[in-house]
């Protein structure tokens, strides 16, 4: 069975789900940021379906993993912690401290080999090569009656096993990586094997609350080769070591920071779009789901946003036309805006 008819089959000929998936899958990334407004009939999993398309798309793109930037990000976080957050007297109130951060830089790192939590101590540089010094303390035992600190150094070439506590790890070998056979069924392009084992945070999913988003995604389960998968698992939102997207809850914007390099952002609803500081995503393409269940009040606020910022947007007629001709479902339509 070829990919197209498989996808058709998998979505049970439910064309709206298929079309939302295809919209994400076939979306080409452009150099200039774009906003894509998607008007859907009452469809709770619209955001998840588009994201699933985008996840499958990104799996086929060699550059789409965190490998290259990983050490850099560890260094950035460690520097921010050592220089700013460690001695900050505001106990993480960025709007008072005016530090430009949205969240505290973490001082806790983990290694995938063990379960210990390491604390950031310092950054040392030798011949222009930086390394992060981390430590953990051993409790006193009979043999070693004093508490001792054990230091370890994270270096560029050996940093892949390290990750910040609370964030997904960079990669995993063997069992934890994603099922190549499964994902290759959804896309006709070839999947990069590297991507299946590496996390990627350039794709951002913003919803009001994680549990809620998971539930919305799981209104759909897909049956592939006699196995059923809830959509949130396929999105690597849940039950997955590797994560192919970054989830941010708009209510408690944990993990939302200026340095995240989002390429594509999907907003689950107008509410989460409204809550987020958009300057962080000014270089990213944005997908905004406009559900027909949205209240008039929320729509008003969306209109207001576009009327106050209208000088920054222009309608991309060509792409809007092109995408809309592919959509045959009543009530489903797309508006593509170029951002200045």
């Amino acid at each position: 069975m070829d990919v197209k008819s498989f996808v058709k089959h998998i979505f049970n000929n439910n064309s709206i789900e298929e079309e939302l998936f295809n919209l994400g899958l076939n979306w080409e990334e452009k150099n200039i940021p774009q906003t894509v407004l998607i008007n859907t009939p009452s469809q709770k999993n619209a955001a998840a379906l588009i994201l699933f398309g985008l996840v499958c798309r990104d799996l086929c793109d060699t550059g789409k993993n965190n490998k290259a930037e990983h050490f850099n990000e560890l260094i950035l976080n460690a520097e921010a912690y050592l220089n700013q957050c460690r001695n900050c007297k505001f106990s993480c109130k960025p709007e008072v401290a005016e530090c430009g951060r949205a969240n505290k830089a973490t001082n806790e790192l983990k290694n995938i080999q063990d379960s210990r939590v390491y604390r950031v101590e310092s950054i040392t540089s030798k011949e222009c090569k930086k390394s992060i010094c981390v430590s953990y303390s051993k409790k006193a035992t009979k043999q070693t009656p004093f508490k001792t600190n054990v230091n370890r150094y994270i270096q560029q070439d050996y940093s892949e096993e390290w990750h910040c506590k609370g964030q997904s790890q960079l990669f995993c070998n063997g069992e934890g990586s994603l099922d190549s056979e499964l994902y290759s069924k959804f896309t006709s392009d070839e999947i990069c094997t590297d991507n299946l084992a590496f996390s990627y945070s350039g794709l951002v999913y913003i919803g009001s609350h994680k549990k809620n988003s998971e539930r919305n995604a799981n209104t759909l389960t897909l049956k592939v080769n006699d196995k059923t998968y809830p959509l949130s698992d396929l999105l690597t939102l849940k039950n997955s070591v590797v994560s192919r997207l970054l989830y941010i809850s708009a209510l408690t914007p944990k993990g939302l920071d200026k340095h995240i390099k989002a390429r594509t952002v999907v907003f689950e609803d107008i509410y989460s779009f409204k809550l987020i500081d958009h300057s962080i995503f000014h270089n990213a393409s944005k997908f905004i789901i406009v559900n027909s269940e949205e209240s008039d009040l929320k729509l008003e606020s969306l209109y207001e946003y576009y009327s106050t910022n209208r000088q920054w947007f222009s309608i991309n007629e060509e792409l809007t036309e092109e995408k809309n001709t592919h959509l045959s479902i009543k009530g489903l339509s797309v508006l593509v805006l170029d951002e200045a």
């Binding site: 008007n39 209510l251 027909s292 009327s307 805006l337």
Partner: protein, 521 residues
């Protein structure tokens, strides 16, 4: 019946039934003339009332239009309208009365058209009528008069959400962007209906691309020069319902050409205005105050406390105002200070943990503690929301304790809190909430009253100081810091006081350029 557009045959259709009636057209034109005349002669209240009555009759299937003058002096047959309101208004009123009698005689065309339509379709198709609450009795009268029909009324979005799919949605009046619209856009966006049947008076216009596709609206916002020809995917069909009794055909054409959409025209009639007193401060500035506002009046001759009075402004209307002042509190400056002045250490922790709970598990845990919460999810969302001013949390301490105990395991595990100290921990977390509430109250919405109370309380102590300030300085404004509170207060010297203004609520207590206040006279 003519088909106006029929593009991409969708599943839904939109029927517009236009109502034509020369006597209602006469009434509408005359009412508009009267309203303009009333506004000219500053009889705003009557104009407003008349507008409401007109809109009521335009969207309600009352049996006749005889309620049009309800509450206005024109309904009173003993009143010599010509003497009070002038000849022009009198002529129009007489014209309206004639035509209203015709509606009594032949029936309200809207009533007849609805009746006609419902009899035709409703026996076979399930029909829902969207109406505003105030029109409900009229619709019910209509429905009761028709036996064996399958039609009910929907009055709000919640009711609509509860209904299953049905055949016809009936609305009366134009579909608009503003709140005057005959139907909330939610009903149009979530199509549970197959046919939208819109009854609209001749001249009435749907002012926004009907079937508000939000994207089409954003398109219009970004490209307002394009006209709103948006493909709705709906087949629109128009039909004209002509009331049975035309007086003659010439008149029909005459009135038909000048009939208009009063929803558009009369929108400008502001409802927000209220009577106000204008305080002229100097040659450039003035301020509107509410009629019951107080001002400071300083009597320089006496030395005792009573010489500075804080009293109703109107009682000094005829007095010499050279030593009176309006107390202006700069609320804008206060708003910026409403951040928390303490550090919340516990909030982040329990909100974090709470946010990650499975709702099902949590509700079981709470249930075992004897608490059943309706809409647990919504509640939890509201509790874990962060705010600048107040820590959102359950209202009662008891409930808060149970809630935290339900997630005790996770908190302890995550943040290394000693298990035996957990109760103290809860205690402190609760104190934090109390502090935030206390602060929010002092800075909250009751600010205005509270500060006024405070100022009144402090006046005896500060009178001397204020008096000294007011008498010694030659500048116009003074700033005063009252005791521990840092309230930016200005005393504005009043030069003149004028009655007879009607100002929008938003302009009350704001300093305006003097040229602007004339508009509201």
């Amino acid at each position: 019946m003519e088909v106006i557009t029929n593009e991409g045959v969708g599943f839904q259709s939109h029927f517009i039934i236009q109502l034509k009636s020369n006597y209602v057209d006469q009434i509408r034109l005359s009412v508009y003339k009267i309203i303009s005349l009333l506004l000219e002669s500053e009889n705003n209240e009557i104009a407003y009332l008349l507008k409401n009555n007109l809109f009521y009759h335009l969207s309600s299937p009352s049996t006749s239009w005889k309620g049009l003058f309800l509450g206005t002096p024109f309904g009173n047959s003993n009143l010599e309208i010509e003497d009070v309101y002038g000849k022009d208004i009198n002529n129009e009123v007489l014209n309206i009365k004639d035509n209203v009698n015709l509606t009594i005689e032949f029936g309200n065309p809207l009533f007849l058209a609805l009746q006609d339509y419902l009899c035709k379709v409703s026996g076979v198709q399930e029909t829902r009528i969207y109406c505003k609450t105030r029109h409900y009795p009229d619709f019910m009268n209509l429905l009761h008069a028709l036996p064996e029909i399958n039609a009910t009324c929907i009055m709000n979005v919640t009711e609509y959400k509860r209904t299953n799919d049905f055949a016809n949605l009936v609305v009366v009046g134009p579909i608009r962007m503003d709140s005057l619209s005959s139907v909330p856009s939610y009903l149009l966006r979530n199509m549970k209906w197959k046919n939208l049947v819109q009854f609209i008076w001749q001249g009435g216009q749907n002012d926004f691309s009907a079937f508000n596709n939000p994207l089409a609206n954003i398109r219009t916002i970004l490209q307002p020069h394009l006209d709103n020809e948006i493909k709705t995917g709906l087949a629109i069909q128009k039909e004209v319902f002509t009331s049975n009794h035309f007086q003659n055909s010439e008149e029909e054409e005459q009135s038909g050409s000048s009939i208009f959409d009063e929803f558009e025209k009369l929108k400008i009639l502001s409802i927000d205005k209220m009577p106000a007193i204008a305080l002229i401060l100097n040659n450039r500035e003035a301020i509107f105050i509410k009629p019951n506002s107080k001002i400071f009046v300083l009597d320089c001759l006496g030395n005792d406390d009573s010489s500075l009075r804080y009293d109703l402004a109107v009682s000094y209307l005829n007095d010499d105002l050279s030593k009176s002042y309006f107390l202006n509190i700069d609320y804008a400056a206060l708003e910026t200070e409403s951040h928390r002045s303490f550090e919340a250490n516990y909030e982040n922790i329990w909100k974090d943990v709470l946010g990650e709970q499975e709702f099902d598990e949590l509700s079981v845990k709470l249930l075992s503690n004897g608490i059943k919460i309706k809409n647990l999810e919504d509640r939890v969302f509201s509790w874990i929301e962060f705010s600048q001013d107040i820590i959102h949390a359950p209202g009662e301490k008891e409930n808060f304790v149970i809630l935290l105990k339900a997630i005790k395991g996770d908190i302890i595990q995550r943040f290394n809190i000693e298990s035996e100290n957990f109760n103290i921990w809860i205690e402190e977390a609760w104190n934090e909430i109390l502090i935030s509430r206390g602060e929010a109250i002092t800075e909250g919405k009751s600010k205005y009253d509270q500060y006024h109370q405070l100022i009144n309380d402090m006046l005896p102590e500060s009178l001397d100081e204020i008096r000294r300030l007011l008498t010694s300085t030659s500048t116009f404004t003074y700033e005063l810091k009252l005791a521990s509170l840092n309230i930016p207060i200005t005393f504005l010297p009043i030069k003149k006081m004028q009655l007879g203004y009607e100002a929008p609520n938003s302009l009350i207590n704001k300093i305006l350029p003097i040229s602007e206040i004339e508009i509201y006279k």
